[in-house]
């Protein structure tokens, strides 16, 4: 019974949070809403990267490549083929997922740095194709004149209105990822992360599940890109540099890999640091760099991460100086709740 209570309380908290999130544009000024929107965008892509790196333990450094594919697919669909945003969003994600599968297949047998390098290479190749294939992608000029979509006659342009599209997508992402993670597929991913030999001995096809994992991550990264295009009304390849990819990776790791809450915390901290210190000019990047290094020293498993995970390393416990209450590892509590509820039912 306790678990059920717990679940209800959690549902209530979530509902309140969602309502508060819906109210945000009315409370906050437009300039802050711009930051919030960029946080929302990063949330999806950081979450997607977390699915690949955190849940199945692969080393994908080239998430920006999928981001790029999604954004350009959307922009081209809208600009050249005059497809509506609402129809174009799924093909953008699917196309990124297909590219994800294409990248996953050759990297199946690779580990560590080789995998990191091949994904970095892929990300750069995607960006360079976008930069050089002028007839389709506009080359250095990018694609201009994208319009924010209409939602049943309501305009969605501008940060405080487009925010709702972002919010809905983030919620959708969380909802579906939470469900996938706690299903047979998610368990297979985690098994591969924790011990691939044991996973194999239980009949889990490493190849298949790594590909599915990559496709799922790439799908959401593509969606994140697809959302970016009409929001900015203009895209060019400069949005998808390697540094951007590294930034996203840093956000995920600061927050904590392998937890649903991790990327959220990471993205929020990082973005508020970058945007909030805008007055400091170049110095804010130094603050970010110091934050990254300090986090690795103090809490290598990330703010929301759990120190027992393989992702935190062997001697983590002595090294994690900042102790956070268990509440922050939402993922664990959710996992327990899931299986516990089924047990009662």
């Amino acid at each position: 019974m306790m678990y059920k209570m717990d679940a209800n309380v959690k549902k209530a908290i979530m509902l309140v949070t969602v309502i508060m999130m819906c109210m945000l544009p009315h409370i906050l000024s437009k300039s802050i809403m711009t930051i919030v929107c960029s946080i929302m965008g990063y949330l999806i892509i950081a979450g997607a990267l977390n699915v690949i790196n955190g849940y199945s333990g692969q080393m994908c450094f080239g998430i920006a490549g999928f981001y790029c594919v999604g954004a350009y697919t959307m922009a081209i669909l809208m600009n050249t083929f005059h497809v509506s945003f609402w129809i174009g969003i799924i093909p953008s994600g699917l196309f990124a997922a297909i590219i994800g599968a294409l990248i996953a297949i050759p990297t199946l047998k690779m580990k560590g740095m080789f995998m990191a390098m091949i994904t970095i290479g892929f990300s750069e190749v995607m960006r360079l194709i976008a930069l050089n294939w002028t007839s389709v992608t506009g080359g250095t000029m990018g694609i201009k004149g994208l319009k924010a979509p209409m939602f049943f006659g309501l305009k969605t342009s501008g940060a405080s209105r487009y925010y709702y599209i972002y919010l809905a997508t983030v919620l959708l992402f969380l909802f579906s990822t939470d469900r996938v993670i706690h299903s047979r597929i998610g368990r297979a991913w985690m098994a591969i992360r924790e011990d691939d030999m044991a996973a194999k001995s239980l009949g889990i096809s490493l190849n298949l599940y790594k590909i599915i994992n990559f496709m799922y991550g790439a799908f959401w990264a593509g969606i994140a890109g697809a959302l970016l295009a009409p929001y900015k009304t203009y895209i060019d390849s400069a949005y998808f540099t390697l540094d951007e990819g590294f930034n996203i990776l840093s956000m995920v790791i600061i927050g904590g890999q392998g937890t649903l809450a991790g990327p959220f915390i990471g993205v929020t901290v990082y973005q508020f640091l970058v945007e909030g210190l805008r007055f400091a000019g170049v110095w804010r990047y130094i603050a970010c760099a110091i934050l990254i290094i300090a986090m690795m020293w103090l809490r290598p498993q990330g703010l929301a991460g759990n120190s027992e995970s393989v992702l935190a390393g062997k001697k983590n416990r002595s090294r994690s100086f900042i102790k956070l209450p268990e509440v922050f590892s939402l993922d664990r509590t959710f996992g327990t709740r899931r299986l516990g509820k089924a047990n009662i039912g």
């Binding site: 740095m113 990191a116 290479g121 190749v125 360079l128 760099a289 990254i292 393989v310």
Partner: protein, 292 residues
């Protein structure tokens, strides 16, 4: 057309030698410390800057410049080791990797603040003389880069295979616990390995500064990636193969450019890497990845 292709191949070789020069340091660091580094490009930049200021002070004395950049990057290497590697030998490899990304961000932006955003010209450090070998034209700097790469490969190979000190480094790279058990100061040895890698990059920075006739804060960004690509092609830990990888990438890039346009340069290098890794998942080397 043939002459054009040959000149492109020669250009590619020269560029490849520069990649090779930085890749050497990357291979040394991954080989000994066991961690990858994304800071190498910034070390190159620091090397270039330090020699720039020494050149200003000493009136373009190449030896002084080299020594200065070597020493300063050695010190940076020590700091880098303490910040990014020393604590993380028991952690997954991505943690130190993220640390090096943070460190490279730090160096890049600090350099921009300290040295300013504009390019520092490094003109006429070496007399610009051109040597003709048949149809091949080599400038003096290119020749120097070439000689440095060859000498470095030979010295490092000898160091790792022939000296007891090199054996120590090798032992540390293969098994830290066992190395500690036989009485090697693991921490110090790994740090020196890292410093060697960094100092090579620093010296490379001087040459690259002279080659491109300028030093600027973001000069390392693409070079770093190219060097890493070269080292990956060479199997990450092998010094001669990393040099070979660098040269191959340089040549591939320029042959590719010969048939298309210069803006496709990076597509060829990364495409080459991806295709090579698909067929040989561990690069040219036989050994598996450093810690993977």
């Amino acid at each position: 057309m043939d002459g054009y292709l040959i000149s492109q191949i020669v250009n590619g070789l020269c560029l490849g030698l520069i990649y090779a020069l930085i890749a050497l340091g990357v291979a040394v660091i991954i080989g000994i410390v066991g961690f990858a580094t994304f800071t190498q490009g910034e070390i190159v930049m620091i090397g270039a800057y330090s020699s720039y200021y020494v050149f200003l002070w000493s009136g373009n004395n190449l030896i002084y410049g080299m020594i200065a950049s070597f020493m300063i990057t050695w010190i940076i290497g020590m700091i880098l080791y303490k910040v990014c590697y020393a604590k993380f030998f028991d952690s997954p490899e991505y943690i130190s990797l993220i640390c090096t990304i943070g460190f490279s961000m730090l160096l890049k932006n600090l350099a921009q603040i300290i040295f300013g955003a504009e390019k520092k010209p490094m003109l006429n450090i070496i007399e610009n003389k051109i040597y003709h070998l048949g149809i091949i034209e080599l400038s003096r700097v290119q020749l120097m880069v070439f000689i440095t790469v060859i000498v470095m490969v030979i010295i490092l190979s000898l160091l790792f295979t022939r000296t007891s000190w090199g054996l120590k480094l090798k032992a540390v790279s293969q098994n830290r616990e066992a190395a500690a058990l036989v009485g090697i100061n693991v921490d110090k040895t790994a740090m020196i390995g890292n410093c060697i890698g960094c100092a090579i990059a620093g010296a490379a920075g001087t040459l690259i500064g002279i080659y491109y006739q300028s030093a600027y804060a973001t000069m390392g960004a693409t070079l770093s990636m190219k060097a890493f690509t070269s080292a990956t092609l060479g199997g990450l830990t092998s010094v001669p193969l990393a040099a070979l990888g660098g040269i191959l990438i340089g040549v591939t890039e320029n042959i590719g450019i010969a048939f298309s346009s210069a803006s496709f340069r990076d597509i060829f290098s990364f495409g080459f890497l991806i295709i090579m890794l698909i067929f040989k998942p561990t690069g040219f080397g036989r050994k598996r990845g450093a810690r993977a």
